[in-house]
């Protein structure tokens, strides 16, 4: 009996384990499946984000234009015939557009009808004509067919974002305007053209005239200041900490500080910029200079950490060999270690700059959210940057701005992708395995 008892216990255990195995294996594969689902969810969201932005924004790269026969009437543009540039610049070009429209649709006679007829065209149409005439005064006295930008509402109608079946009071274009647009379409006088203005103009209250060039230039100056400040400072700090610093409390304090600064919320850097750079030092508001300084402080930890990693990757044998043939410590660093670590440092710097390019919160604090039409010409001019421009446009309710916001995001992401690609290529090309 005792024999049987001692035999059955292990058998029971084995049986129990065998019986539980299917369940445990099922749990095992389920667990693995959870991981896949998690990754799938994150990637699905990524795809959704891109699809939603591209589908909203691709249409902004095209702008509806209307072909009008413009008579550059000398009496209206330059009654004295002096061809004086200031007279030409001040003439009533909007009037030319209006009379051309009236020639197309003479049936619009009442004040209200004429008003809605004039609303077919963008208020920027006159500026296009002005630029044509100031560039080429010989146009005066001739009649030309010119493609001029349509108003944002007409643009939306052509792109199909305005529902024609809704009652007229609920859409932004009235029945007559729709009829005129249809008439223009029959004559092939309304077409979508590539939107060069989006890439060459500054901001505007009129969606069809708004462009990102001002923000791109602002971003350029801001990042220029950021790089000029953060790169040398970051590399020098990294060299000091990695190659020269003794291990003591002071060095420890610096390291803790750097690690902590890397995790401080970006908006706190904005508060620092507001309190110190603007209020204490009295630097100008909205200037890329101040924005660049704030972003430099923010990117500094990234560059330092990447720089130290790159310096650490250079094997000690290089240093020892250089020291052995009589180089000083600084010569070791500048002649040998730094050139070998440079690709890694540059990669870190580019990634840090890309982060700075996408950053907007601290810039809101120092006034880079102002509505600025002019393209900045230097780092002291008031400016805005790409992400802040996107934020400003996202606040505007018009459908035409939604499309421009998405297009702006696409441009911003294109820049980021380009910078990260450069970083990857640098790393691939110059990476060394010791």
């Amino acid at each position: 009996m005792t024999d049987l008892a001692s035999n059955s216990a292990p058998r029971q255990t084995t049986e129990r384990i065998a019986a539980s195995l299917p369940r445990r294996y099922a749990r095992d594969s389920r667990f693995r499946y959870y991981g896949l689902v998690a990754i799938g969810l994150a990637l699905a969201f990524l795809v959704l984000l891109f699809v939603s932005i591209v589908s909203k924004g691709y249409s902004a790269f095209f702008q509806t234009e209307i072909r009008l026969l413009i008579e550059f009437d000398e009496d209206r543009l330059d009654p004295n015939g002096t061809r004086d540039p200031s007279v030409l610049a001040g003439a009533d070009y909007g009037g030319l557009v209006k009379s051309s429209l009236r020639g197309l649709f003479p049936e619009a006679e009442s004040r209200r009808d004429r008003k809605s007829l004039n609303r077919l065209m963008s208020s920027g149409a006159g500026f296009v004509l002005r630029d044509m005439v100031t560039n080429d005064p010989s146009l005066i006295g001739t009649a030309q067919e010119v493609w001029l930008p349509a108003a944002a509402d007409i643009d939306m109608l052509i792109k199909g974002f305005i529902d024609r079946s809704k009652p007229a009071s609920e859409r932004r274009v009235n029945d007559k305007q729709i009829a005129w647009v249809d008439a223009l379409q029959e004559r092939d006088a309304i077409e979508r053209h590539f939107n060069t203005r989006f890439f060459s103009a500054g901001d505007s209250r009129e969606p069809e005239l708004a462009g990102i060039w001002g923000a791109v230039v602002g971003s350029f100056y801001t990042l220029l200041v950021t790089i000029l400040l953060a790169f040398p400072l970051g590399v020098m700090t990294a060299i000091y900490l990695e190659e020269f610093a003794p291990t003591n409390r002071w060095t420890d304090l610096i390291e803790v500080n750097i690690n902590n600064l890397a995790a401080v919320p970006s908006i706190v850097f904005g508060l620092l910029g507001l309190a110190v750079f603007l209020n204490f030092f009295g630097l100008p508001r909205s200037a890329p200079l101040v924005g660049g300084m704030v972003l430099a402080l923010m990117t500094l930890p990234t560059i330092i950490i990447a720089g130290r990693a790159a310096l650490k990757a250079v094997p000690p044998s290089i240093r020892e060999a250089a020291l052995g043939v009589g180089a000083s410590r600084l010569q070791v660093v500048t002649h040998h270690v730094l050139p070998l670590a440079m690709p890694g440092i540059l990669t870190g710097a580019i990634i840090g700059t890309a982060q700075a390019l996408g950053e907007s919160a601290p810039l809101l604090m120092i006034g880079m959210v102002a509505f600025i039409v002019d393209v900045p010409t230097g780092p002291i001019d008031p400016a805005t940057v790409l992400p802040v421009q996107i934020y400003l446009w996202a606040d505007s309710p018009e459908r035409a701005f939604v499309e421009r916001t998405s297009a702006g995001i696409m441009v911003l992401i294109a820049f980021l992708v380009a910078m990260n690609l450069i970083a990857v290529v640098l790393r691939k090309k110059f990476e060394r395995r010791w």
Binding site: L233, M236, I258, I267, L274, R329
Partner: protein, 460 residues
Amino acid sequence: MPLSILIAVLLTASAFAFYLGRGRAVAVAGGHVRNLHSLPSHYGAYVALWCALPAFGILAFWLVVEPAAIESFVVAGLPPEAANLPPDRLALLLNDIRNLADRGLVAGSGDQTVMAGAEHYLSLQRLGSTALTVIAIVLAMAGVAVGWRFVSPELRARNSVERTITAILVASSTIAIFTTIGIVLSLLFEAARFFNTVPVTEFLFGLEWSPQTAIREDQVGASGKFGAVPIFAGTMLISAIAMTVAVPIGLLSAIYMAEYAAPRVRSVIKPLLEILAGIPTVVYGFFAALTVAPFLRDNGSLLGLDVASESALAAGLVMGIMIVPFVSSISDDVITAVPKSLREGSLGLGATKSETIKKVVLPAALPGIVGGILLAVSRAIGETMIVVMAAGLAANLTANPLQAVTTVTVQIVTLLVGDQEFDSPKTLAAFALGLTLFCVTLVLNVYALFIVRKYREKYD
């Protein structure tokens, strides 16, 4: 002379000084370089440093003191009745003067005092800039002369140059400390001014937040309530939603990548997930406000739920997705750092892979994972653009994720964006909120970094 040109001139002068010094060194050595203590280029660098350092020093000094110096001169030059104005009116007057001088803008009527002040301001500025140019160039030339005279075969040029450069390296490494000091001081200083008017206890424990202060004494609703509890609650609600999204997704994908995925799959998935971290937050904000929030609102009304169009849920969900890569990359590092022997021991005892992960690997990696999650929480609390664009402005004290709540960062942005006078409690409140934000994230970060570091030491 414009600043950029002055800097360019000084740099060119230093380059010139380098060649001068190098030539001089070769000359004093009588053409035999081996007679010199250091390499000729060290002598060049020595003279170049003599040229550049004093000139750039005076330049930096002037840039720092210029605004204050000019201001005090302008005030001194004002007629006595204007100079004796109370400080706040004087500040306004100075502002007018500066606007007129810098941009030719005139606020209100073209006041005689302002015109004269602006004239004075401009002349001082011109004088200062000329003096700076002359002094900097003279200093540079004097530096070259001094350095040039010092060059001799016995001069230990390399040692001096290296000592100077090391000093510059040390100085640049202190920037991080100065940044922290700057942040703490600016926040503390402005927050202290805020707490002079609003007691700390009201700010920390008050249940009502309506920062509209009166422009006129008799205005309705002018009291201005600064109880920040609803804001803290809103921040926590949105962060909690974000973490409920980010922690499971991040942790599970980290486990999959570290334990299950083939190296090739991993090398594709990991960068793809990191893209999520690289997308600018303003893009997430736009997506949350224009796609996710309307989607939730419409589907909520189908289910009979009343979802606010700026619901905490939309902001929290999108923020959670943004944080996934932070959680996953730190967890991934920590899980791969767990020694193989632990896994092999567990597998050898007959545990399945998932049992090994759940009962051995995860407990071993737990401190590091917690550290990573804390860092992610601090990231969520400090995140600005998503909540500015997708969360509400009204401070509701609620735990309902379908309602609109506001957060610390949203309030900082709304209080500070736009023109504001810099001494009303309304703007200063932003600094008090910023101080709270900084302190909370600081504690979280330091604690998390401490855990992660301690954990690393354990298995190294």
